[in-house]
Structures are given as structure tokens and as C-alpha cells.
Symmetry: C3
Subunit: 366 residues, 3 copies
Amino acid sequence: HIQVFQDVHVMIFIGFGFLMTFLKRYGFSSVGVNLLLAAFGLQWGLLMQGIWHLDHGKIKMDILKMINADFSTATVLISFGAVLGKTSPVQLLIMTILEITIFSINEHLVATVFKANDVGASMIIHAFGAYFGLAVARVLYRPALRNGHENDGSVYHSDLFAMIGTVFLWMFWPSFNSAIAEPGLTQLTAVINTYLSLAACVLSAYAISSLVEHKGKLDMVHIQNATLAGGVAVGTCADMSIGPFGAMLIGFVAGIISTLGFKFLSPILASNLGIQDTCGVHNLHGMPGILGGLAGIVAVALGKKEGTVAMQAAALASSLGFALVGGAITGFIMKLPFWGQPPDQNCFDDSIYWEVRNPTPHKYYL
Amino acid sequence: HIQVFQDVHVMIFIGFGFLMTFLKRYGFSSVGVNLLLAAFGLQWGLLMQGIWHLDHGKIKMDILKMINADFSTATVLISFGAVLGKTSPVQLLIMTILEITIFSINEHLVATVFKANDVGASMIIHAFGAYFGLAVARVLYRPALRNGHENDGSVYHSDLFAMIGTVFLWMFWPSFNSAIAEPGLTQLTAVINTYLSLAACVLSAYAISSLVEHKGKLDMVHIQNATLAGGVAVGTCADMSIGPFGAMLIGFVAGIISTLGFKFLSPILASNLGIQDTCGVHNLHGMPGILGGLAGIVAVALGKKEGTVAMQAAALASSLGFALVGGAITGFIMKLPFWGQPPDQNCFDDSIYWEVRNPTPHKYYL
Amino acid sequence: HIQVFQDVHVMIFIGFGFLMTFLKRYGFSSVGVNLLLAAFGLQWGLLMQGIWHLDHGKIKMDILKMINADFSTATVLISFGAVLGKTSPVQLLIMTILEITIFSINEHLVATVFKANDVGASMIIHAFGAYFGLAVARVLYRPALRNGHENDGSVYHSDLFAMIGTVFLWMFWPSFNSAIAEPGLTQLTAVINTYLSLAACVLSAYAISSLVEHKGKLDMVHIQNATLAGGVAVGTCADMSIGPFGAMLIGFVAGIISTLGFKFLSPILASNLGIQDTCGVHNLHGMPGILGGLAGIVAVALGKKEGTVAMQAAALASSLGFALVGGAITGFIMKLPFWGQPPDQNCFDDSIYWEVRNPTPHKYYL
């Protein structure tokens, strides 16, 4: 288990951290605040999840607890993506405390009360984290950014840094989805299904990106994100006997939905619903997470794993409900005026929170 | 085996992907098209290799099959290096289909018919992939690029991105060469031999680079590539009892050959033979791969492993023959005028296949 | 053990290599010379450590020996940080030979004669490497750099490259501190203690960084380095039953000391004592290493592990003594005028040792 833990660790700290460095002036915050939130969140997560499993009044540590602690931080890092560039570190630390607390309640409900399947956490991490973050983003809506912000975009090298995050997430997703699976054949199934789903997802993401862009060009935003949707969407079913083609079908559909979401849905959410989703977590974690939950319902209905449709549906509904209500409440708390929220013109800019030095590099060393 | 698979995965997706980001304007394609080709190739490879080992008409999945699928994509990614910047994604997908098909035939021949030793695949992956790519490059020869192209070069930061690829390849090569070795002492031998060969190779690569450059300076091209030649060259012998000094000798010689190849042979190939080898795969995979095959013949002759000189030689000849003939045929198919091959002036430029945004970064954030 | 070895390998080659790329014009040397020194050092380390454990006149190879060889190079890479930008590759190769030789003597003394506890090597690697490097830096003092050097600083993207190093070191430190621990519960303890110490350390490093900088801003230098001090400081105690709060306390204190050291102590060392410590290894490895040694003394006194206070104290004193005396002697040898030491004005500049090409990138691809 130690190596699976290390793989998950890489996803949390390198994967999520660098995925968000695509913004041209916000790389320090992306990878730096990601480190802060994850390091803080895993401690809080150990505490919150430990409370449900006290042993003689103590929290016993083991590798599985560490994996679960990393998992609990993943929800926060997903939500972080929705509000990236528009929140202060203090606001985000408050979000971390509240989101992990609410996550732990929902996780306990899904796993222990509903006894629903969600080995790769499509519902309890990805859908939960995404809709939590979107609810926060809605509450923190900034009308002044309606027409964009000059720093809300990438430059050439920032997109390459982001690809470090993308590729590490992509490669280690089989470990993520199999981390808490039963060792042996079940775990192996989760590895293989995730591997196949991700491979299929890459193909549909590239194909759709090329179809919807001018002159058949590819868009880095799609490649950085939608190629991962297969890992999200196969999460719930990962340890089920859905077969290679089942896994690939889920991944293929996820890649389509995700890319189309970036192209067509995100602009609508921003302009019509006031949801400014910086990283497009709705497309990478939100819709693919729901797809994963629905695929789980179908798979259980088809007898691919023990469980009932009702309990799977309850798990999905519970995850979405806790996310939207919890996110909205958290958003209102984060909106209180004393947490140092950055003014509109300083959004997406590291220099408000970091010492940024050496403004003029020598021309030889660009 | 799962962790060895993950290490190989890192080599394929981060290693090969970032190694090719050295070009100043071609990083998106390097890491992005690498992801596309590898994700597509592993599915095709699973199918092609599975056909030889049907079980009741089905392809059974396991971790070893996934490792072999990753291996089959490695040949394509090596060939990709030879034609980097001068081919369209569609051309490369066609190359993927053809190359992996031909690889599977040759691999079956070498492993099952000849029963030759090639645990780390010096012959069937490295030499094969390199000469396949060189044959394609020869057919796609562009006279207009005879005197170079302004974008066929690196800038400071693109060379640093490439070092991410180099170092991950270097570190995980012991896993690559031991991935399909018999578990236990044989696998351990493969790990240790590769580790030692690579360590020795670094020394000779740095020494020769400094010797052949002006004023004893080092050349990043050599360091990014020739430091890895030891991993290629020790591949065939990796699981043999060649001893630490045998392994180090192979690595040391590989580092010399590879660096000298970059300095003196590549310009000759380009100007006299019409082989424009963008990444110098002939120096990293081609000659070191042949060296590996020859070292395997010597080692078998010296009784370091079961096998016969004739079968080892047949394996080397077969790998080179399939590569050259297969590559030439593939090149002619890729040359057909409807695959969107980029015109000369747009070579080595991402903006022909990617949306490239935000041309003018703020001066503070270079 | 193979996977733990691979994790340590990543720390040595990616972690240390990229951590030092923060300098704006010295990235090639940071990651490139790091590779050279580590590849050379591990061979020398195998030899030096092998001499103490000959088996029928031969050095037997196994994974543990490879981990120890990597460990021995870590001392050199730490010292490299102190003199980064001010020494030639030849000088550094000489330092590698001498430092690893002296390290092997001290390591033998601490482990075999004193039988002291130092599983994560706070004393024999971190404190040793830091004070060795500081002694070298003192001998190589450059008065002309008293007021800084225009290239002794970072630019935006070089700081992001450095974060790759930071995060990989941070993530895999549990493997480092548990690599040579007894398998089973002891090893698991080392993993958990290190994980918790590092998590706590991040919090104190961020908090103190924000407290001591203008307007509560964060400083990348602190985040890149002080977040790792918890891994250093918990090293000696990592496999002891110090409990979660013991581990977190050590990490928390280490983060405070390290950040304060960067802010207040390093400028004093440079201006008053003539110790120009480029990477601040005194703050990341020196003081936290001593803290680790002291924590080990306290832990043994409290009966958290077999051992005696005297032997732990002897190990700490021996490590510091060998480091300071060995570093001073090494510094004088490195100061001999025929090793190509760079002149003051060429310090912190790759172009003196590397071919640096393509000075003017196209404006679209910054």
C-alpha cells in the first residue's frame, strides 16, 4: 500500500498543483497554495475521518488513513480550481476546514449508511468537490470580471508547466481509483479499467477538440483537462466487472462531454448563471463525476457488483446535495469582508500574495 | 508488478513527452502529441500483441500485457523523435498503426521463434524504433530544410523542460529493463546492471561533450540524450551475469558513441544521406541499440546466459530489417498528399496545430 | 525495496536537481551538474561503503547498497547548494571524491562504532552535508560578491522549475526516512512520522514567511526550502515511537527555525562571517539537521528507542566535526588555482560552462 499512497501523493501535490499553473501570472499561488491547502487539509482530514473510527478514544494511523486523508484534500483542491485567482489564502483555509468536515459527513453516509459503491470516488470526491466549488464561485460572483480579466489566461510556458500536472494525474489515476480497493483481483480490475478508460478518453478529447476549434486546431485547455475525464468517470465502476469495452465506453463518453463542456457550457455558466469557473472543474470533475455516478447505477442494475440502484442513487444525490448546500454556506462565510479577498483588478496575480522579484531578466535567458 | 508498470508509464508519458520539448516553439506538440500517440498506441498494441496469445478467443488483460502495450508505444515515440516537427498528427497516427503492427510481428519472431534474449529491448524497441523512424525521415526528406530552420532549436527554458524528460527516463530505466524479467534474482540483476551502466554512461557523455565542444563547454543536446544511451545499450544483456564492470563498460562505451554521433555523424546523415533526424534518435536509440544487440551476442558467446549466437544475431538482423523496410513503406504511405503534412515554413511550429494564445506576456512574469 | 530505491532516486536526481534551478541563469548547471555529481558520486559511494563490508574480497551489490550509494551522494548535493554558482565542475568532482570518502568514515563510526540511531540521517547526511558545504564556502569566500551579484536571484519561471524539486522532495521524504528502516512496523512508523512532520512544517513555514515579509506576503525562497525542514528534522527520530504529536512538533519547530534562518541569519552569515550560502543549506539542512540530532538525544533519553544519550551525542558531534574539518580541508584543495574556478563576474552564469544558444526567442513563445 505504501507505493499506492505515494502515487496518490504525487497526484495531490504535483498533479493538482501544476495543473493549475496554466495561468500566466498565478503559478506561485497555484503550486504554492495547493501545497499549503493539501498539507493543512490532510491533517484536518485525518482528524475528521478519524472521529468516525475511534479506537479506545484514539485515532490509529496507518497507510489507508493517509490515503483517505489525501483523498479528503482532493475535494478541496478541486473546489480551489473553481475559485482560482479570486480568493485569498485565508479564505481558502476556511474553505478547507468546512469542505473537509462536510466531505467527511457525506463520505460516512455514503460508505457506512448507504453502503454504496464508489471505489474511485466519482461521486464523493469529484462531483462533490466540483459542485461545492461551483456553489462557492456562484456566491463569490464578480460582475466586474464578466468580460474576462487580462491575467485570466495562459502563456506558452505556463501551459507547459500545466502539462506536468496533467500527465502525472493521467499516469497515476489507476493508483487513485484502486487505492482503497480490496487487494488482489478487485484492485487489479480497478487498475485495468482506469487505464483503459483514460486511454479511450484521450482519443475522444483530441477528436472533439479538433472538431470544435477553428481549422481543426487543438486547444491546450481541452488537452490539459478533458483527457483526464475518463479517470473521473470510471471511478465508481472501476472495481466492477464492466469489461474492457465498458471501461473504454465510459472514458470515451467522458472525453466528449468534458471537451464540449469547456467549449460551449462554461461560457454560458459564466455569462448566464454567474458561475465563473476558472479551471473549468465543472467539465473535468463535475459532469464526469455525475456520469460516473450514473454509470455506477447502471452497472449495479446490470449486476456487475453487489449493491442496489437505490443506494447508488442516494449516494449521488447526497454528494450533490451536500456539495451545493455546503458550498453555498461556505461561500457566504468566505464572503465576509475580513478574509482579505483580492480586489477585482488584482485577481489572477501572484504579486498580491507573493514577493515577486527580478522583473527584468537578461534577454539571453528567457 | 503494478509499480514497475507505473515506472514504465512515467517513462512513456513524462520521459518521452518532455524529452522532446527542447524545441523552442514545439512544446505543445511534443508533450501533447506524445500523449495522443501513446494513448492510442497502447490500445492498438494491446490488440496486436493480444492476437498472438488468444485465450478462448479473448484477449486477457493483466499488468504484464499493459507493460508490453506501453513497450510497443515506445517504438513509435522513438520514431516520432526522428520526424519531430515535420509531420502532422494524422500522419503520426498512421505511423502508430503501421509501426506497432510491424513491431508485434518482429517481437513475436524474436521472442517466440528465435527465442532470443532481449529483456530490455535494445534490439526490438530501441534499434527497431530508431531505424524505422530514420527510414520514414529519409522518405519524407525536405530539401528546403537542408540549411536548417529558424525554429529547429531550443531556448533556455525549453531545454530545462527537456531535462525533466531526461531525468525521469534516466531514473526509471532500471524499471524498464527489468519490467519483464523473471522476478527474483534475474530481475534484481537487470535493475543493478542498468543502474551501473547508466551511471558510467553519464561520465563518458559529459567527458566527451566537454572534449568536442569549444573551450571545454558542455552541450545540452548531449546531456539530454547521450546520458541515456547506457540504458539502451545494456538492455539486451541486462538480466545476464555480465558483472558490474561489464555493465559499466557497456554504458561507458554507449556514452562515447552517442555523444560523438551527435557531434559528427548527425550532420553527415543530414547533408549527405538526406536523413533529417530532429532529436538525433540515431545517436540515442539507433547505435546504442545495435551496441546492445552486439553486446548480447558476445555475452551469449561467453555463456553469460542461455541462448545461441545465431539466434541473437538473427534477432538483431530481423529487428533492423523489419525497421528499415517497414519504415520505408510507412514513409511512402505517410507521404501521400492528403494527411495534412505541414509546409516547410511551418515546420517546428505549434501554432499550425494548436491555438496559441496570449502572445505578449507582461514583462514582470517572464 | 526496489520502489523505495526509486523514490530516493527521484529525490536525488529530480528533487535536488530542480530545487537548485531557482537561479535565473544557472538552471543547466543546477540540474545538469547535479546529474553528473550524483552519477559519479554513487559509483564512488558504492566503492567507499563497500570497502567496509567486503565479502570474500568483493563488493556485493544489492538494493540496500544502491540506496546507501544514493544517500552518500545526497551529502555532496547538499554541499553543492552552499557553493552553487561559484565553483567549476572539476572543483565539484574533487569535492565529491573527498566528501563521500569522509562521509563513509563518519557513517561507519556512527553506525558501527557508536551504534547510534539516525535512520533518516538528520546527522550523518543533512547536518554533515550542510556544515561541510558551509566550511567549503567559507574557504572559497569571495569578497567581491559581498554586495550580491546581479545573477544571484530568480525569475518567475525559474522559481516554478524549483518548485518541481521542492514538491518531489516533499512527497518522497517518507521513503527517504524509512528506506533503511527495518521492514514492517518500524518502517511504517518512519513513513507516518515523516508524513506528519512535513505536514506540520508546511504550516509553520507559511505562517512565519507571511509574518516576516512586508504586508504579509509569502517569499518563494521560504516556501521552496523551509517546507522541507520537517523531513530533515524528524530524520533521526523517524523510526522511534515519538507519537504523531511528537513528529508534528518537530516539524513545526523546524519550519519556524528554517524560515527565520533564511530571513535573519543568512544575511548575517554572509556579511559578518564570510559564509556565502547560495541556497541557504544552513537553514534547510544545517539547523534542522542539528535539531534532528538533538530530538534524537531527547527521544532516546525518554526511552522511545534503544540507545544511549552519550552515543547519540557522539554521533552528532562526530558528524559536525568531520564536516567542519573535512569541509575546510576540501575547501583549501578546491582553492588551488588550476581547477578552473569561475571569476567573480561569471558566477551564477551557465554560459561559462555550457553552450547557450538562441539568445532571442520569438516573442510569441515566451
